[in-house]
């Protein structure tokens, strides 16, 4: 294929935010009449690349080329005039307006300045019919299912742009039948010669619909390949960056005696979130959770902590059945949770490091036994030192700290409450190598001190290094529990990719 045949091409794209390189010389070519999957874990640079292709960001270096000529895309509307339309995961339409208006907003047919509603609805009906939708165009969009809204969004994008369609996780909130329906539409559009970029976390869907796949990791282009001669395992391996020789289990914990049972989850689950799972957690044990993004890892952590309440199953703590339906229940049992999205769910950016560290302890103590400033300083100082939090002062706003130091402060926050069980969701994401090693050391130290930990991570080497046991999540289901010499990246990759490959659990 020569370059001229690309409908949309990105060449040598570099995007730098501050001193963080989000994309490093990425090339991406999209042919007319193909469905091109874009894969990568969080932080791989997918969304940055998409935002550059839709004009939401400008590349620091490199060119975006439409039909062979370089263009500058100022904003999504401008990209639309070049024929590039985008549909986002969350339907970005107006639920309070009619279907027809959502299709044509900003481009309504007018008659002496007044919107010609009848013509608009007539046109809408013909357009929708092409997508197999037989709904009243004058009905309110919000009255329809998410799948229908998603199709309307696609119809709008295609009507207004018509050359390239970018689908950013369009299936995230659809059920199986709805996904099939969406795929039929995508196949139709592909047959009409549209170029489609498809972003998803579901590998099944990639293999069901895509012709080629581009994989990004840590801002770098790993490969662009035709899917014909790729297996699922290959793709997972490329995404996670494991050129794995299938051998060498890391024999770390061979004969470590298990502590007493601390937690026992039985048939624990929540509809539309995590399928029921069984999990027993012992004292002095690290349970690693592996799985791709969207596999239900975070959801599992959230219902364990009561951030979402489970709607089936039972849990017992130290042998006694109990219920954990909200975080305060969990904290009362001595749980701690360091969430994945540190900025949004972890830190209180404008509060000081000290306040961030003592806040969970204060929450546990209740309203009437306020910690004095001296006590706060003492606690914060102790953890600041033992965790090696590098801050000019413990009274500076935590948002000014680096990611690694923020993570250490959040860990300190829970350690201050003297927990028995800690859940860490991606504790090492987005932090530098030094801090990374320190967090891993801390995890090991806490385990030796008899804490039970559940650690979620996409870094397979890391999970393997500190886990006593690994559970693997796929499609919102706990699919495998690995022990002993099965704790190695090769087995994990296979378990993530496809259980049919035969992983003994």
């Amino acid at each position: 294929m020569t370059d001229g045949q690309y409908a949309l091409e990105a060449r040598g794209i570099v995007k730098i935010f501050g001193n963080h390189v989000a994309l490093d010389k990425v090339d991406f070519g999209l042919r007319p009449g193909e469905v091109h999957a874009l894969l990568g874990e969080n932080g791989a640079g997918k969304s940055t690349l998409i935002k550059i292709l839709t004009g939401a960001y400008q590349p620091t270096l490199g060119d975006v080329i439409v039909d062979g000529s370089p263009v500058t895309l100022n904003n999504p509307q401008h990209a639309q005039t070049h024929g590039i339309g985008t549909v986002y995961q969350e339907v970005n339409l107006l639920p309070n307006r009619s279907v027809a208006e959502n299709l044509y907003l900003g481009h309504q047919p007018t008659w002496f300045g007044f919107v010609d509603r009848r013509k608009m609805e007539r046109d809408a009906r013909t357009v929708l019919a092409r997508y197999g939708l037989n709904i009243d165009p004058s009905s309110e969009l919000g009255a329809h299912s998410v799948a229908v809204q998603q199709i309307v969004a696609i119809a709008r994008a295609v009507e207004l742009s018509g050359k390239v369609l970018i689908l950013d996780e369009p299936t995230a909130s659809l059920d199986r039948n709805e996904v099939e329906r969406l795929f039929d539409i995508i196949r139709d559009l592909k047959a009409q010669g549209l170029a489609v970029v498809f972003i998803t976390h579901f590998l099944d869907q990639v293999f069901a619909i895509a012709d080629r796949v581009t994989i990004l990791r840590n801002g770098k282009l790993i490969d662009t390949k035709s899917l014909d001669n790729l297996t699922r395992t290959d793709v997972v391996r490329l995404m996670l960056g494991k050129d794995i020789a299938f051998s060498g289990a890391t024999q770390l914990e061979e004969n470590r005696p298990l502590g007493e049972v601390l937690l026992d989850f039985k048939g624990y689950g929540k509809k539309r979130s995590v399928m029921p799972f069984n999990l027993t957690i012992h004292k002095g044990e690290v349970v690693g959770v592996a799985g791709l993004l969207g596999s239900g890892r975070t959801e599992m952590a959230r219902i364990m902590f009561g951030a979402d309440s489970a709607d089936e199953g039972t849990v017992s703590v130290a042998g006694k059945p109990t219920s954990i339906s909200k975080p305060t229940d969990a904290i009362a049992h001595g749980f701690g949770f360091c969430p994945e999205d540190r900025k949004a769910e972890g830190i209180f950016g404008d509060l000081s490091v000290r306040e961030n560290i003592v806040i969970a302890l204060q929450g546990k103590l209740g309203w009437f036994s306020a910690l004095t400033r001296d006590e706060q300083m003492e606690i914060a100082g102790r953890y600041g030192e033992s965790m090696d939090i590098r801050a000019a002062s413990l009274d500076m706003p935590i948002k000014l700290l680096s990611g690694g130091n923020q993570q250490k402060a959040i860990l300190s926050r829970w350690l201050a409450t003297d927990p028995t069980f800690l859940i860490l969701d991606e504790p090492t994401r987005g932090i530098d190598v030094g801090a990374h090693a320190e967090i891993v050391r801390t995890i090991n130290r806490l385990r030796d001190e008899g804490l039970a930990l559940v650690v979620i991570s996409s870094e397979l080497d890391e999970v393997v290094a500190y886990s006593s046991r690994i559970v693997v999540m796929r499609d919102r289901e706990l699919v495998a529990e690995l022990n002993g010499e099965n704790i190695n990246p090769g087995v994990i990759v296979q378990a993530i990719a496809n259980h049919k490959d035969g992983v003994q659990t």
Binding site: P76, E101, L105, F114, S139, E140, S145, A172
Partner: protein, 324 residues
């Protein structure tokens, strides 16, 4: 559209029932005279409420309306009585000044990303303060144009009179309804109220629309101030205190969702009429304190907010589950 029609139907029903009950007690309330006065007495509130409808539909709020009415009254009175300007020119000046004032508020709301509540609160103090700086006293307007307009009425069978200001209000409502429901600008207003992020992704000119909405609200407030000065033949800096709250009540009682995105201009008309009906009833009764108006408005408002909650919560389609 069905969902958003329901509060409107409810308002219309309540108005019809309330009016029927009032007529049963005081048969003379069913007359063209009362109806004509209805329009005249509520004209300034109605005109301001049309502007407020646009603001609330877009998801905003405008607290400066009452102050702009007061300021316009004083400005017009001073221009006519002290400076000897012809009323029509004074009206034009007042409308241009108010338009600029509203546009500046809109700019601040959009570009500084300050909540409309705060910006228009500042606008309220500015306009009210400005009016009081011009004069502390009521300024009477004695101009033959005012006398001529006041006499200009359409006689209705049954002794009622349709005044120019009442007709102005009706015209504003009709134009307002056309703009809201039949123009691109109207669809942008609803789009902003539905979801501003989606709206901007769909190519709605958010800045332009926001500025236009607040300019429109201030212009209509100025028109309302002019009508108020015709009604009272004077300008007083403390006139129309709290009218913005009456306007908000009329809009909400008229079925517009306070958080924006749903509602009709016609609903606001019925809302204004319902408020007028309560007042007229109390005047007819003669024994009730006029503060009962406030209590009834309070009850109505509360009722409508609960009603809207019920309608919109009950029929909201299944929310998306948490993100992947």
């Amino acid at each position: 559209m069905n969902r958003s029609l329901r509060p409107l139907v409810a308002t219309a029903l309540i108005f019809a029932i309330a009016y029927a009950l009032a007529v049963m007690q005081f048969p003379s309330m069913f007359s063209t005279r009362v109806l004509g006065n209805f329009l005249t007495d509520n004209a300034f509130l109605g005109i301001a409420a049309v502007g407020m409808t646009f603001v609330i539909l877009s998801g905003g709020i405008d607290l400066s309306v009452g102050a702009v009415i007061g300021f316009t009254g004083v400005l017009v009175a001073v221009l006519i009585s002290w400076a000897g300007v012809h009323p029509l020119l004074a009206f034009a000046i007042a409308i241009v000044v108010a338009g600029a004032f509203g546009a500046i508020m809109g700019l601040a709301i959009h570009y500084l990303q300050v909540p409309a509540f705060i910006v228009t609160l500042a606008g309220m103090f500015l306009a009210r303060g400005g009016a009081s700086v011009i004069t502390r006293d009521s300024v009477p307007i004695n101009h033959e144009f005012y006398a001529w307009i006041s006499d200009l009425t359409i006689r209705l069978p049954g002794g009622g009179r349709l005044s120019i200001i009442g007709l102005t209000m009706v015209a504003i409502f009709i134009i307002g309804a056309l703009v809201a429901h039949r123009t691109k600008f109207g669809s942008y207003v609803y789009a902003l109220g539905g979801n501003p992020v989606s709206a901007s992704l769909m190519g709605v000119p958010v800045a332009r629309t926001t500025v236009a909405i607040y300019a429109l609200s201030s212009v209509l407030a100025a028109l309302s101030g002019i009508v108020f000065s015709l009604y009272t033949s004077a300008g007083y800096p403390l006139a129309a205190v709290g009218v913005e709250l009456d306007a908000i009540s009329a809009v909400v009682i008229g079925g517009t969702l306070l958080t924006g995105g749903y509602g009709f201009v016609l609903g606001t008309f019925i809302g204004v009429m319902l408020l007028g009906l309560v007042q007229t009833y109390i005047i007819f009764d003669g024994t009730l304190s006029s503060w009962w108006t406030k209590i009834v408005i309070g009850i109505l408002l509360f009722l409508f907010i609960v009603l809207q909650r019920l309608i919109f919560v009950a029929s909201a389609p299944g929310e998306k589950t948490s993100k992947a």
